[in-house]
């Protein structure tokens, strides 16, 4: 496995909030074309790890490598510009703005020519068409219009918008933090299909989830996070869900060779 270079990796990440140690030398690897699931108990530091990879948290120590080159993300837009898109658990959507505005928030397209260059006019029409296409791809947009405020959407629809935004712009890595937590059975299924669809286009995904069936269905590798560190990486084909739960809760210690898996 070591002959393939990971597309995104982290070594020895540390982050303290006062007395609380959120990451204690965490390592991470994501390989091209794969889905790596990150599981761990509440408070294990999954979210902080993910935020460090997406630029929302700057680690105190440690290194992050994208395609072998070290990167320093100071802000979320640094990671976004590098091609890493994240769907946060709280979705990071602006409720009063429209679906289209939200999809393009922070990367608005401007009109060509003088209107765009000098007067900085946004190209509403082109952005709306693009947003509509992307949502249609996910079968999410037989609903009303693209200009309605996100706050008028249901939880599942909002999730759909957030996932569509990441899928539309993520060119190197997509990070999904609990993408199905707020969804019903049918909507979850659609998001899972979308995730497989994104992987089949060759874009690797980091999936954080508490939903073991979903994790075992999708993931190529499962990164078990415990006490701010990577405990082990397991292969979902060779382990059961109860093994995974035992590792992440500390009920069972992994064999040492697993750490290299």
């Amino acid at each position: 496995m070591t002959n393939v270079q990971p597309i995104l990796s982290a070594r020895g990440l540390m982050k303290r909030y006062g007395q609380v140690v959120a990451m204690n030398g965490a390592d991470f690897d994501l390989y091209p074309g794969e889905i790596t699931a990150v599981i761990g108990d509440n408070g294990a530091g999954k979210s902080t790890l993910i935020k460090a990879l997406s630029g929302a948290v700057v680690p105190d120590h440690g290194q992050i490598f994208l395609e072998g080159k070290e990167v320093h993300f100071k802000r979320p837009d640094d990671a976004r510009n590098a091609g890493i898109e994240t769907v946060y658990q709280n979705l990071a959507l602006s409720p009063a703005l429209s679906i289209a505005d939200n999809m393009f928030l922070g990367r608005e397209w401007r009109k060509p020519g003088v209107m765009g260059k000098v007067f900085r006019k946004m190209d509403h029409a082109r952005m709306q068409d693009f947003a509509r296409d992307k949502l249609n791809d996910l079968g999410l947009m037989t609903i009303q219009n693209i200009n309605q405020a996100v706050e008028t959407l249901s939880g599942g629809q909002r999730q759909g918008v957030a996932v569509a935004r990441a899928a539309a712009f993520g060119s190197k890595v997509i990070i999904l933090d609990e993408p199905t937590a707020a969804l019903g059975v049918k909507e979850s299924r659609r998001v899972l299909e979308l995730i497989q669809d994104v992987r089949s286009r060759g874009i690797p995904i980091i999936l954080i989830s508490h939903n073991m069936p979903h994790v075992f269905e999708l993931a190529d590798r499962i990164h078990v996070h415990r006490l701010g560190q990577r405990l082990c990486v397991i292969d979902p084909k060779k382990h059961t869900m109860s093994d995974a739960v035992a590792y992440m809760t500390g009920a069972k210690e992994p064999d040492t060779e697993l750490e290299l898996a």
Binding site: T86, P95, L97, G106, K121, H124, T142, K186, M212
Partner: protein
């Protein structure tokens, strides 16, 4: 947790029936389309309708009950009176959209106009240069507010309460508590009074100040609705965390908002000089609250993220219509304030009602 789970099953059992599930996506039942819902949705989508309707109704009301209200002269007077409040309300709208508030707008306005007046009258600078320097200092004062809000991370209310006192002290010191007389300005720098000059047509006497207010409102409307900067301002007021995670440079945008608001206030100072005909260090100290009143009546939410600059201009005009209408109707001054107070409370209650509808 099941122990016998076969890894990599295509579908989990509990989802097996999904193929037969209803494939129609979220076609909403139409049963909640009562009149209240339709009204709420309409008002949420077009929030400027409310101040526009209130304005029309109040003009018709005072036209019917107050003598001489429905005349070009009176209507021109209303517009002239709200010029300065309107311009400051445009600045205040930008701040309030970011969920902030600016109590120092009036002080920035007066200090900037004193700078313009002193430089051109006492120091003999060409008016163009004096005005530019005044505008620059207005922007600088706003920028200072912005830095305190973003870098020191103090609440905008506290920051601008402090700078209100600071700028007030500075304006009294710099002007030595003395007005700059209109005759002196007319002699040395008549262009400082440019916005007081009038265009007449059909009995209407519109000052250039009114025209400037409308152009300014149009410009800010364009910036808010058609540039990325405007989207970012809205998003920051709406949900700063979401805005940050969406890659918006929050601090940079906020500082630009405060600086721009300061610049607009300084411009308001120039217009105020024309409106009054002289520059006094103690004028326009109630413009702070008046601008907030106008913004709130115009339907902009004090919680940020929603509202429009057009509404604020309409709000300023509504207050002007009430004040002038009531005084023409022979109502005492304090009832005019009473009416303005009621308008604010109704406007905020309405905003709350609309926001609840979204929860």
């Amino acid at each position: 947790m099941s122990t016998q789970t076969e890894p990599k099953k295509p579908l989990n059992e509990f989802e097996a029936g999904l193929d037969k599930a209803d494939k129609a996506v979220a076609s909403f039942a139409q049963d909640d389309k009562t009149l209240t819902h339709v009204l709420r949705k309409f008002l949420r989508d077009y929030p400027t309708t409310i101040p526009a309707l209130v304005l029309i109704v109040s003009i018709l009301f005072f036209g019917a009950f107050a003598n001489n209200f429905m005349t070009p002269g009176t209507l021109s007077l209303v517009l002239k009176q709200v010029t300065v409040t309107g311009i400051v309300a445009v600045a205040q709208t930008l701040i309030i959209l970011t969920a902030g508030i600016d109590l120092s707008v009036g002080a920035i306005l007066v200090l900037s106009s004193i700078i313009m007046g002193k430089l051109s009258v006492d120091f003999g600078l060409p008016p163009f240069l004096a005005i530019s320097i005044g505008l620059f200092f207005g922007g600088l004062m706003g920028w200072f507010n912005g830095i305190l809000v973003t870098v020191i991370k103090l609440p905008p209310f506290i920051v601008t309460l402090g700078t209100l006192s600071i700028f007030t002290a500075l304006k009294l010191w710099y002007s030595a508590s003395q007005s700059i007389r209109g005759s002196d300005i007319r002699e040395t720098a008549p262009s400082l009074l440019f916005f007081g000059e009038r265009i007449s047509f059909g009995g209407f006497q519109i000052t250039y100040g009114v025209v400037a207010l409308l152009v300014l409102a149009g410009l800010v409307y364009y910036m808010l609705n058609h540039t990325a900067w405007g989207r970012h301002v809205m998003a920051i007021g709406d949900d700063p965390d979401a805005a940050m995670l969406s890659g918006i440079r929050i601090n940079r945008t906020l500082v630009s908002v405060y600086a721009f608001a300061g610049l607009i206030c300084a411009f308001g100072g120039w217009a105020a000089a024309g409106r009054v005909g002289s520059i006094s260090p103690i004028g326009f100290d109630d413009v702070n609250l008046q601008s907030i009143t106008a913004v709130v009546i115009g339907g902009t939410s004090l919680f940020g993220g929603r509202g429009s600059v057009i509404g604020s201009v309409l709000g300023a005009i509504i207050v002007g219509v009430f004040t002038t209408g009531l005084s023409l109707g022979g109502v005492d001054d304090y009832w005019q304030q009473f009416a303005a107070g009621c308008l604010v409370l109704v406007a905020v209650a309405l905003d709350q009602w609309l926001r609840r509808a979204t929860k």
